[in-house]
């Protein structure tokens, strides 16, 4: 079993829909949780960053962490065709040294007109 599980999709939604992307994990020591967006043939781009449990909002994006359930989510409101990309969750333990992130395999999202 992988340390971080993420549904690969693809997930296809109409423009304007609310999108929910999720990851589950097994390591209770994870403290930092991130979402990256990756367009085709590009590098991952940091989208959201949260520490421990709770919600964080940035424009149309909301990241949610539930450490008791070992479950994190990314919500996208009013989805746009430009949101079509692969979304990667990532997490790590704060060791005070290098950032050795553990990644999910990514969920491919397609927002249609």
């Amino acid at each position: 079993q992988k340390e971080v599980e993420q549904d690969p999709g693809p997930l296809s939604v109409p423009e304007g829909a609310i999108v929910s992307l999720n990851c589950t994990y097994s390591n209770s020591a994870f403290q930092y949780f991130m979402w990256y967006r990756q367009y085709s043939r590009k590098g991952p781009e940091l989208l959201m960053y949260t520490y421990s449990s709770g919600n964080k909002e940035d424009g149309r994006f909301t990241a949610q962490v539930d450490k008791s359930s070992k479950y994190i989510s990314l919500f996208i409101r009013d989805s746009q065709p430009s949101d079509s990309a692969t979304y990667l969750c990532a997490m790590n333990v704060n060791t005070g040294t290098a950032s050795k992130l553990t990644f999910g395999t990514g969920t491919r999202l397609q927002v249609t007109l």
Binding site: L88, A90, G96, A98
Partner: protein, 111 residues
């Protein structure tokens, strides 16, 4: 891409040949990383560096070596490329133990 340049962007090589990929940063970040990305496996850490001449292995380091002679440059070398090393390679940087910033990637094909 956060002041990170990877070269080359694409490379086709033959089995058994040596290959070196270069990562250059202009952010003066302490940590640099090499990841590979493969379908079904996601991003996996190959090697990382925590300072000039200071490197350590990641999850999938077999068949790879790295060097960092300057803060801004981190090289990944495949001593004798194999077909299983066909992948997309990403360099990343961080200042501390939290956020990682990625380059645009190098598509490597080993025939």
């Amino acid at each position: 891409d956060a002041g990170i340049t990877q070269s080359p962007r694409h490379k086709v090589t033959e089995t058994g040949t040596p290959v070196t990929l270069r990562c250059h940063q202009t952010e003066n970040h302490r940590y640099m990383y090499w990841y590979r990305q493969d379908p079904g496996h996601g991003l996996r850490l190959i090697h990382y560096s925590y300072g000039v001449k200071d490197t350590d292995k990641g999850e999938v380091s077999d068949g790879y070596s790295v060097s960092r002679s300057k803060t801004e440059d981190f090289l990944l070398t495949l001593e004798s490329a194999t077909s299983s090393q066909t992948s997309v390679y990403f360099c990343a940087i961080s200042e501390g133990s939290e956020k990682l910033f990625f380059g645009s990637g190098t598509q490597l094909s080993v025939l």
